[in-house]
């Protein structure tokens, strides 16, 4: 009798455990949003393209430096991309380039964007910061994301064209531009 009760108790506990853990957590929301795989793929390719570019390769270590600031992605897609993620798409590319020798070889200086400067300057004390202390950038690394979106009863697809640019701030000239593309699709009804 005792054994039977024990076995029944263990079985009930097992059944509850199976039912609770059976599906391995809540279902994943399906979207055509860009994800980390896209981020890594795109920034790796864009960093390579930037480093290989003729205008940048032609620069020498003795040239006048290009002081490069960054600006978050300008989002023209039909998806909401939070501001922190819009910085991420540029920040990872700069980080990849900064890990190489390109800055020394091509005389590039990466500077923090103005949005981050107040946090850094706080250490100096507002009264002690000389006006215009932060270097003036000569160039800006930025990106524009566009999409062609189709939605229908069958689902949704988004063709992304993510174009990265190095802009000369004196002339507005696009010194370098390249793009990365992906098409993402979902079928069935979505909550995008």
């Amino acid at each position: 009798m005792m054994v039977r009760r024990t076995v029944c108790g263990i079985t009930t506990a097992l059944l509850v455990l199976i039912l609770l853990t059976g599906c391995g957590g809540p279902p994943r929301v399906q979207t055509t949003f860009l994800g980390s795989v896209d981020l890594i793929d795109m920034t790796n390719q864009m960093a390579q393209s930037f480093a290989r570019d003729e205008a940048i390769s032609a620069r020498r270590a003795t040239d006048e430096p290009w002081v490069i600031s960054i600006y978050r992605v300008v989002n023209h897609t039909n998806q909401v991309i939070p501001e922190r993620e819009r910085w991420l798409y540029i920040g990872r590319m700069r980080s990849l380039l900064a890990q190489s020798d390109i800055a020394t070889q091509r005389r590039l200086i990466w500077i923090v964007p103005p949005e981050r400067w107040p946090a850094i300057a706080r250490e100096l004390g507002e009264a002690n910061e000389p006006p215009g202390l932060r270097m003036n950038p000569t160039h800006l690394l930025t990106a524009e994301f566009n999409t062609l979106t189709t939605t229908s009863a069958r689902g949704r697809s988004d063709m992304y064209v993510c174009s990265y640019q190095l802009v000369d701030l004196a002339t507005g000239l696009l010194v370098w531009e390249d793009s990365w593309e992906v098409k993402r699709s979902v079928t069935g009804l979505t909550f995008d």
């Binding site: 199976i18 215009g132 999409t147 069958r154 064209v161 507005g172 696009l174 979505t190």
Partner: protein, 207 residues
């Protein structure tokens, strides 16, 4: 004997519960569809079957065709005096007013800038963007670098008009790409302000 019968009952119950639990996992949650996946941009997604607006395959075909044409036009692409161009806003004159077709210009610029054509063309960002960035980066600390001090050097605008003609369950689309001269040009083919110095089109019909 009794004990072995209990074990059999318990095993049976466990099997049933496991089957029910696994079967529940097989059933997709309602209104969720299948996973968002990457696909070849030159082919149609299920969402695009039967939809009568330009798709990603049209985007690729149209912009590749325009880039190739501009690159071949020696009166436009000029290594000695590359025309300075900014990319304007798309003019959507189709019945699909909600559709955002700006990507048809953005991809063309990116294609031209990442190909050999870039040696004969110079692309400049639009004035509002450069002014905003100069204001953000420089503020007013250096009068020569302020937003107000910026003078756009663009001599041409690359633009595109989108038209359509829906009729009897079909729809015809025309994308008219143009390079328009802005003023007496210091670069490129100097025809005169307002002159369309290059034009080409892409057309597609959906039925």
């Amino acid at each position: 004997m009794k004990f072995s019968s209990t074990i059999r009952q318990v095993a049976g119950l466990t099997l049933i519960a496991g089957t029910v639990s696994l079967a529940a996992c097989q059933t997709p949650p309602p209104n969720r569809g299948t996973s968002g996946y990457r696909m070849d941009p030159s082919s149609d997604s299920p969402a695009e079957y039967g939809v009568m607006t330009p798709r990603s395959a049209d985007l690729i075909e149209a912009t590749n065709k325009m880039a190739q044409d501009i690159a071949q036009r020696l009166d436009i692409t000029n290594r000695q005096s590359p025309p300075r161009i900014f990319v304007g806003l798309i003019e959507n004159k189709s019945s699909q007013r909600h559709q955002n077709f700006q990507v048809f210009l953005a991809r063309l610029r990116a294609e031209l800038n990442s190909s050999g054509a870039r040696h004969g063309l110079e692309f400049i960002r639009e004035r509002s963007f450069v002014e905003d960035q100069r204001s953000r980066e420089y503020g007013s600390k250096d009068p020569a670098s302020t937003a107000a001090a910026y003078q756009s050097r663009a001599d041409y605008v690359l633009t595109c008009e989108v038209y359509d003609l829906p009729s009897g369950g079909t729809n015809y689309f025309l994308l008219n790409y143009q390079l328009v001269q802005l003023r007496d040009a210091a670069t490129g083919p100097d025809v005169g302000a307002g002159a369309i110095v290059w034009e080409n089109s892409y057309e597609v019909k959906f039925q």
